[in-house]
Structures are given as structure tokens and as C-alpha cells.
Symmetry: C2
Subunit: 637 residues, 2 copies
């Protein structure tokens, strides 16, 4: 008779959230169910020591772990995950155990400095579940089912008006009576009001998940987020299925003008999302019905195509998008395989070629919060760049091409299992030792591998500054292949494809064009606001390299500017960083449009400085060696 | 070259609305296009003299009509419909020419006293069209199409935030460029904000229509409203196609529990609406694309079925509806044949058996505004009754059955073409003279005809007070037919059906049961609040009798209470009256939920007083003759 268990009142401080819990309930689960978010890095295993709480009054039981000292234990310090409720309780959640302190740290690369990330935000997901015990109707109180439910919701939150989706109303009569008028309500918090978007029988508060997607021109990346714990439960990556319609956005926009073209591209994007979504559900074991929200960060062209908006005018002067702040749409209405109630939020964009992906990165990295001057570089197909501080932000897109995502490279691939992500060449023999993602046999080389290989070849003198192979150098790895001069990274016998993994001069040309476009982009942007490279306080680099971007090598080839190394921070995928923060915090979501509105776009496509700067950068590291003193002197400040 | 015509500024006072008009423009059309509503009873033919305006400054030309005196003409009085703009103008629209003053008067029966209708409201339809000239985008101003449009809308109205439907965004890029960035925006005004629901190229302000529907258990009635002119452009009526699933709501609710049953009933309601909708478009010549709104007033069961909500719990104690204030839904999502943007507003209801139809009637008749005590009776299948004033309203439903809509009567029919709506019996011979709707051959007899016939038969002594025929009376019209004793109203030779039109004792029994239920309903309601019949200041009667309810006859048979005749007002169809007002006025729409929340429901189905009162009323006029003194004395006060 579990129903006869004793119930206790538990109050969580400092927010004074009161709930009731059965005797013996896990304190971490009790906190989650009442909407109090406690950092729990190990997922409740009792090993990480991040969910420390203070028992102010009352009694809990549970083993004392090694993470709690005797003195602290005496003072009432416990780990929430291994404490069980045995009386009425008042529990203090110290600042260090609050979720927002941990979320960012846990989910950015080791190299990311916390000072270069968004600060001062609260963990409060826009999706919230509430457990509601309605009083059953009587002849004296026979108000409608919906009024009965909204009455309870209004009682439990006074700050905003609750409106119900009609789809909730449709299943309300049956759902409410399924477990004797006990239901879980899923709420979507919007500016100024709250929508009731779903209702389930009984208490389902412990399952509440969201997806975030970075829809890139080349690759789509997704993460499944546990909204109760502020954790990534699964990740997936795949090529954007739109690639079959063209490698770059221009080709795809043209395709949309064909009969049925837009529908094909929309479907391709949705198919990609659905594939990743099911991969993540399957690998995490999370139920389809536990998904309540989706956040997308993508460039403007991708957003238009996803929403089935004709992107035609994006590429015609004066480059006008149809929409820059898309409304919430029902994910299912786009073809995404979710339940009816799930809304999709698209990060707002700035201009036709400065999209929500870059807004997301600026948001997540907090560039817009700091008075110091930051150069933000997203090393991806569209090569977005932002320069600015807490007063102004200028932005530009320097179409870099897909090189850094392994595109346009004969043996290139995404940074997924089987990709060579790092390597070292023996000084004498130029024999490589490679680091493969997943540690299996290599299948190809990804962006970070390409950068590291090129820098190593240059340092070893195997290539010239113009990107030609020095064939007279004695290395068994240098040869003339089908595609001309090339370097063999892995012989067929050792590769997972049964073929040699090589890097040739065409690949090198593509890399040089890509890095030159990026360099010219930020160089032009800096000059356009009357600044110099030396004025820059921080360089924040986002990109799709996992944790493995070698800043030194990126400077060696002239991709990144030659600045003191302490100024650099690599934050990983900036799109997903901002998207996650939005899924985790209503107030960060509201900030997104503020950030977008702060940004002024500089159109590079019609800029003469950009063209000359681009030409000058078509060299390793640059035609003007004075711009890269450390590359020759070796003094990296 | 009509584009080269001179343009003038026209300012309409007292609201200070400024617009520009081409030389020679019709002043009434100019007012309509700028959202200034002027009463124009004859539709602009210059004959009714209701669109009088004062030219304060400037010059118009147009014929002086007989409706304007010489002195008034000297003072600048003109008819807007026959004046053309010849200079910059300042035009005063006097109170008497404002639309709200005329709408109610024009659209209620002759017998309706203006004092018994809603007062103090403004003509301001929730659907408004705006003509917008956007500035085309440039490299300096390449904000998104949507921001560009919303910017214009925000400029033109400061009181509320405009949000755009995603369906507008979808067609925005194409529509905006179709006529050089000149578009018409259709706005839906809601409490606190405004939605942009449609966009069309060019200026389409002159076509703006709405439908209102009264979905009754037996019959569905629709009206097509011209929102620019505050006029009914077409009307239609038809049997509710749900009748095939049962004559009363209980049978239909039961049907919904069968597999697929709810879908069948939902479809039947929608099919009925679509049939009437197309009839009205066809008879008026109004284009399908000009429809922008639908308002529905219906009982709670009909609303649940229309919205595909299972009505099961409406008939199970404690009689709980799923919803009482339905949200706006897209009409097309229900299967109604409109464009995607059209929303359907359902009048809020009070309880399972007191629906939006009765709220609509109370709203339209202004019962809730007056300190005096009103008894409101809706003579229809569900027999709703309301008693109250500006401080309290009690309500009940006394299921009367379909008699008053011609149901359950052998030769009964709706009050449509071919129905005998009135008659007189010769005192001596009892030979009838009949009045047929549409003046063709009679096809049957409608509610008002049935009441008038019964009262006449009673006065002539052809029936007893128990509703039996006095067969010994010498009248050729009295006979024994297949169904027992009956009176022949029209012989086959004179009828449009080729058969005799008769009225038999079973018909009479049904009528007596119906009127007894209604009488018992309001009698019980009055007693329940400690009042007496004599306390009632006004009796407002709503019903489906066109303009032809004979109050005297209704009292004679004991349907209406025997009160001084000046207390009675017949307002026609109360459901449609309130629905029209909502389509014509945003503020009246807001009032609807206030009215619903004022009403307290008395459940008659479990009330012992009701049952005894019902039994006592099963007599013509009543078993207690003292309750109907005037019927015997002939003194109608």
C-alpha cells in the first residue's frame, strides 16, 4: 500500500519552493519534481559531489559519501542524490549547487574559459511541467474541465495568464478522468504569458526533454537535453541531406526556383532532423512522448528552407529575408516527427547571410555582455565573423566553403568516428602518427586534421608557402597520384576504407581559399570600424572541431590572426551552445532578440577591400609576412 | 490615365481619421475605405437619407436630394453616398449617422423596442482591413519583409502589438512584390493585441465580410454581414443535418459514444454550415475570398460537437462541459469551407444546458445592463430562460422539444418559404384564412402558425382546454383522419405538397408538452429567487418566428405569462442578434464573457418544483385559471 506512506513538507531555500514528498523519497528527485534545479553531474550516482545541499531543519537518511567532510556533515551538508526524506524539511540549495553554474562548464570544450561564456543567467527552461491535483466536479462546482484546470494553474503561478492550446482541450475530458483528476501539465513560458501545451495523466514531471539542432549548410548537429538536470543526454551528427541539391547555399536557393524545388529542400532538411532525432532517442532510451521542445540555430537560408519560405530574395540585391525572427511553429507542421504540442523555436537572424547560428554563438559566448573588444570567428561553411563588445556588434559572412567540415577535400569528412582529427609528422622522415576519432581505423580527415596536416607539412618544408608540394624532399609519403602531387596520410592497408587516405594540391588550394576568405573577412571587418588587429582583447573561435582545434596550427597557416595566444578561446559549436542556453533559460531566450538587434551587418559581397584582402591572403600564412611575425620568429608571446 | 488624378486629404471628425482620396471619389466609399463607418441604409442609392454628413471645410459635388432641406444644404449638410470629393475636406459625421445607431434598429423585428436592446456600444468590428504602402527595400534598409510590414502597422496603430500568422509570412514575399509593395492587411483585434491574419496585394478594403451562425438543435440559421456597412447581405436557414442521428441532443450525445459517432455528428454540423455559407455567397455575389470572420452562437452540446469535443460528460451528472469559453479556432480546421485565415469565434456558454445561444440573446437584448427585472425566454427546442437585471442573472433550460420549430408536428416545418405563419378562423364556420411565408402555396405550418392555430381553435371552442377536439362542433374542417381527430388547414388541391395540411391531437399533445415545459421553467426560476410573476418589468421573447409571433395568442395557450402587454418585446432570433453585434464590435465581444460569468445556472432536471409545475401546466392555458385572468376576462391591461 504505497498510497499509505507518510507525506512530509519539503521547502527548498532560497526560492522558498514548498512541495510534499512521501517518506523515503529521494531528495534530488523531489527537487526536480518541484521545479528546483540542482546540479547533479553524475546523474544521481553519488560520485561527483556537485549536488551538495544543506539540511536546515528536519531529517534525511542516506550514506555519507567521500565528497562530504566530517565537519560539513555535522553542519548538515548532504548530497541530494543520496538523501531520503524522513521528516518535514527545510533545505538550502547553495549557489555552487545551482544548475546554471554547472551547465556551461560541463558542456564546452576543455579549452573554453568560463570568462568567455555567457554569465549572470538563471536556469529556468521555457518548458515546465506541473503536477496538478484537481478537485473532481460536483453539482455545486460543475465548471468546465478547462476552467477547472486553468483555475489550478492560475493558483500556482500568479505572474502570467495561462492560455490552453486547443489540442489540450481536445483530450482534456478523457485525460483528466484517467487518474482521478491528477494530471501533469506541460507549460510553455512566453514573454508576458504562459501556454498550456500538453496534458498527461498522473505525475510525469521526471521526464522532460528538448532537442537542439544546429542546421549547417554541410552538417546538421543535434543534442537531446534533459531539462530537469540541465544535461546533454545524447548527441548526433549527420550530413545535411540537402547536399544532393548543391554544396553551397546559392546552388540550393536556385534549386528552390524549380517546380517543387522548395518542397524537396524542405523535406531534405526535415529528413535529416528526423534521422538524428530518432538516433538520439534510441541511444538514450528517452521516450518520444517525453520531448517537449525544439530549438534550432541555423543560417538564414537554412531557416527559410526549413520553414518552407522561398529563399529567392535572399540572394538578390538588396538581400531581403522574408523573416528574421520566426514565430514559434509546431514542429510537426513542418514534418518533424514529434507529438503535436512540441514547438520549434528558431534563433533570430540579422541579415540574409548572417543567421541565427551566429546570433546563437554571440549569445552563448557572452560577447555582447563585455566591455572588452572580442573578435568572434565561426569556422564553418559560411564563415561568419562578429566584432564588438557590450555597446556595438558588427558582423559579416565570408563564405569559406565546406573545407573545414571536410567538404571539397578528396578524403575529407565530418569530425565523426573514423576521422583523423590530429596528427604529428616525424621531423626527419615526415612519417605521420594520426589520432582518429573513436580510435578505430581512419576513414578520412576532418577539418582540424586538415589544418594540423597543412601546418605540419609547412613546418617540415614539404609544401611551399603557395601550397605546392616540394617533390624533391625525400619522403616516401610524397608521390604523384591520379590527382597529381599528393601526401599519403594512411596507406590502404591501414585505412578503414581499403584505400589510401591522401591530401593533394587541389585539396590544399581549397583550404587556402577557405582560410583566405575568413582572414579577409575579419580583416575587412576590423578595418571597417577603424580598429586594428592589436586592439582586439579576445578572439573567440567557434567551429565543428570537437575539442581539438589546434590554435597554433591555425595561426601557422594564416587562418587565425597572429595575436598573443592567451587571447584565444575555443568554445566548440557556438550554435549549439546558444541553442542549449535558450532551451535551459527563458530569460536567455528573451535575450536572443536583443543580441540580434545589436548586430549590424557589413555586406562583404560588394566590398572592394574584402576582395583585395582575400587575394593577399592566398598564401601560407600570408603574402605580408609581417602580419604573422610569430610564425617565422616562433615567439608566440 | 486614372493614376494621374489629383489626390486630396480628407479628415473625418470627430475621430480625426485622415485619408487621401482621388478627385471625384465617392465620399461614402472613401469613409468605408478609411475605416470610418457611416450608416447607409439604402446601400448608397441616395434614397434613405441616413448617411448625412457635414462638410466643415472644402468642396464636394453631387445632386441635392429630397432628404436634405435648403437650410441644411446651406449649412453644409450632404449625403455621403451622393457626394464626390473635389478638394481637401474636413467632414463631420454626426451621431445620427454613425453606424451603431442604425444597426440594431435595422435588423430586429418591427415589434422590438430599442429600449430593450443593447445600448452604448461602438461600431468597431474585430476584423479590420488596412491599406499599406510599404517603402521598397534598399541596401540601406534591407530589413526582412515581415519587419517592414509590421513596422508600417505599428506606425498606424499604437494601442497594441501586432503579431503575424505564420500563414501570412508564407505568402508575404510574393504578395508584397505583386503590386509594388502596396498591400491590404487584414487584422484581427483581440484583447490586448492584434493579429495580422491575411495579406492581399493592392487595396481590397471595400470587401470585408463575416458570417454569423445560430446552430440550433433543429435548425441552423446564417447571415452574411458586410463589415464596412454594418448590414446583412444575405440570410439562409436549413435543418441541422444532425437530425438524422436523433431529434434531441440526448440521442445525439449517445450517438457520439458509438465508434466514429462524434466524427459523423461533427461532419453533419459542418456540412449544414457549408451548405448555408455557399447559398449566401451565391445569392449575394460576395466572393469567397472576402470572408474574414465567423461568429457562432449555439448551445453547449452543438458547440462541443462542432469543435469535435466528446459531449459525453454533458449529460452525466454533475453535467460538466469540457469547455465553456472556446478559443478562436481556424474555421477551415473544422472543415468549414473558408480561406485558411478565417477564425471562428464561439459565444461562451454558462453550463452544459445553458449555451452560447442564450448568452448571445442576453448580450444583444442588453438584459444585463438594466436595473429593471427582465424575464428572457428563448422559444426553441432547448427552451432557455433567463431572469435578472444588471446585478444578477439566473438561467435554466426547460427542454421544450422541437415543436416551435415545426418538429414533432405532422405537417410542421421551419419558418421558411411555404410555411403557414399566421391564420384567422372565421368565428362561425371556423374556415381558415392563412398567411404563407413567400406568398406561394402552403407546404406546412411553422411555430407561429401552430401557436396561432391552437389559440384560434381554443377561442372558437373547437378544442377543449385539455387539447381534445370538440367533434360535435359543426365545422367541415374537423374530421377523423388516419391519425385520429384532426383539423384540416389546407386541402390538397390548395397545398403545395398535393396533400392535406392538417393538425391532429398528437400534434396538440406535443404543443402542450412544449409550452408546459417552458412555462414550468420560468415559473420555477422566478420562485427559486423569491420573486413573483408580478415583479417582472419586461418580458423579452426570442425565437425563430421571423417578425410574426402573436404575443396575445401565445398567452392564450399559456406559453407566455399573463402580464400587461406593454411589458412584452419580441426581438426575433436572439442568438443571431448577439452574434451580429460581436461581429460588428470588438468591445461587445469582450462583453460576452462578462455576461456569461454573470449567469448562474439552475438545473431543472433534478428539481421537484419544476416537475409539479410542469404537470400543472398541461392544460390550455393552465390548470389554475387564476394565473391567466385576461384569457377569460379579455382584460389585457
Amino acid at each position: 500500500m504505497s498510497n499509505s506512506k507518510k507525506k512530509y513538507s519539503v521547502v527548498f531555500m532560497p526560492d522558498c519552493v514548498e512541495t510534499s514528498a512521501e517518506e523515503g523519497s529521494n531528495l534530488l528527485e523531489t527537487a526536480i519534481a518541484s521545479g528546483v534545479h540542482i546540479n547533479a553531474g553524475c546523474g544521481g550516482a553519488g560520485t561527483c559531489g556537485t549536488c551538495n545541499i544543506l539540511i536546515k531543519t528536519g531529517k534525511v537518511v542516506g550514506q555519507k559519501t567521500a565528497n562530504v567532510s566530517d565537519a560539513d556533515y555535522q553542519d548538515g551538508l548532504r548530497q541530494a542524490c543520496s538523501s531520503r526524506v524522513m521528516s518535514d524539511l527545510v533545505v538550502e540549495v547553495p549557489a555552487a549547487s545551482r544548475l546554471e553554474a554547472a551547465v556551461l562548464k560541463r558542456e564546452t570544450p576543455d579549452s573554453a574559459s568560463a570568462a568567455m561564456l555567457l554569465s549572470g543567467w538563471n536556469y529556468s527552461p521555457p518548458i515546465e511541467k506541473r503536477f496538478i491535483r484537481m478537485s473532481p466536479p460536483t453539482m455545486q462546482d460543475n465548471t468546465s474541465d478547462l476552467s477547472r484546470l486553468l483555475r489550478c494553474l492560475d493558483n500556482s503561478q500568479t505572474e502570467s495568464i495561462v492560455e490552453a492550446d486547443f489540442s489540450v482541450t481536445k483530450k482534456l475530458a478523457t485525460t483528466a478522468r484517467q487518474d482521478n483528476w491528477h494530471v501533469s501539465a506541460t507549460l510553455l513560458k512566453l514573454a508576458g504569458h504562459t501556454r498550456l501545451i500538453n496534458i498527461e495523466p498522473s505525475d510525469t514531471r521526471t521526464t522532460n526533454y528538448a532537442f537542439v539542432f544546429d542546421i549547417g549548410t554541410t552538417a546538421v548537429r543535434g543534442q537531446l537535453l534533459d531539462l530537469n538536470r540541465g544535461q546533454i543526454s545524447a548527441q548526433a551528427i549527420g550530413y545535411n541531406k540537402q547536399i544532393r541539391f548543391g554544396a553551397d547555399v546559392i546552388a540550393r536557393i536556385n534549386q528552390c526556383s524549380q517546380p517543387g524545388g522548395l518542397a524537396k529542400l524542405q523535406t531534405a532538411a526535415v529528413d535529416t532532423i528526423n534521422e538524428l532525432l530518432h538516433q538520439m532517442l534510441s541511444s538514450s532510451g528517452v521516450a518520444h512522448s517525453s520531448i517537449n521542445h525544439i530549438v534550432v540555430a541555423a543560417n538564414t537560408v537554412m531557416v527559410h528552407m526549413l520553414l518552407a519560405l522561398d529563399p529567392k530574395y535572399l540572394r538578390m540585391s538588396p538581400y531581403v529575408p522574408t523573416i528574421s525572427s520566426p514565430p514559434l511553429v509546431r514542429a510537426r507542421s513542418l514534418g518533424i516527427d514529434t507529438e503535436e504540442h512540441v514547438r520549434l523555436f528558431c534563433m533570430p537572424s540579422v541579415a540574409s547571410y548572417v543567421g541565427g547560428d551566429i546570433v546563437s554563438g554571440i549569445l552563448g559566448s557572452g560577447v555582447y555582455q563585455r566591455p572588452s573588444l572580442t573578435l568572434y570567428i565561426d569556422i564553418g561553411t559560411n564563415g561568419e565573423i562578429v566584432l564588438g563588445n557590450n555597446e556595438w556588434l558588427v558582423t559579416a559572412a565570408a563564405s569559406a566553403g565546406p573545407t573545414f567540415e571536410g567538404g571539397g577535400i578528396r578524403c575529407g569528412m565530418l569530425a565523426i568516428n573514423g576521422a583523423i582529427e590530429d596528427l604529428r609528422l616525424d621531423d626527419a622522415s615526415a612519417e605521420p602518427s594520426v589520432k582518429v576519432i573513436g580510435d578505430g581505423q581512419p576513414l578520412g580527415i576532418c577539418g582540424s586534421g586538415i589544418i594540423n596536416l597543412t601546418a605540419s607539412l609547412l613546418k617540415n618544408g614539404l609544401i611551399t608557402q603557395a601550397g605546392r608540394f616540394n617533390m624533391e624532399k625525400s619522403s616516401a609519403r610524397l608521390r604523384y597520384g591520379e590527382n597529381g602531387a599528393e601526401y599519403v596520410l594512411t596507406y590502404a592497408a591501414d585505412s578503414g576504407t581499403g584505400k589510401d587516405i591522401t591530401f593533394n594540391e587541389t585539396d590544399m588550394d581549397n583550404l587556402i581559399r577557405s582560410k583566405a576568405a575568413l582572414y579577409a573577412g575579419y580583416h575587412t571587418l576590423i578595418l571597417s570600424v577603424g580598429k586594428h588587429m592589436s586592439d582586439i582583447d579576445h578572439v573567440v573561435i567557434a567551429g565543428t572541431f570537437g575539442n581539438r582545434l589546434n590554435i597554433e596550427n591555425a595561426i601557422t597557416i594564416g587562418l587565425l590572426p597572429d595575436l598573443p595566444r592567451h587571447k584565444f578561446t575555443f568554445i566548440g559549436n557556438g550554435s549549439l551552445l546558444g541553442a542549449r542556453l535558450i532551451a535551459f533559460s527563458t530569460e536567455v531566450q528573451r535575450q536572443s532578440s536583443v543580441v540580434a538587434s545589436m548586430m549590424t551587418n557589413l555586406e562583404l559581397s560588394e566590398n572592394a577591400d574584402f576582395m583585395s584582402s582575400y587575394t593577399a591572403a592566398m598564401f601560407l600564412p600570408h603574402t605580408d609576412a609581417a602580419l604573422f611575425p610569430s610564425v617565422t620568429t616562433g615567439d608566440t608571446a
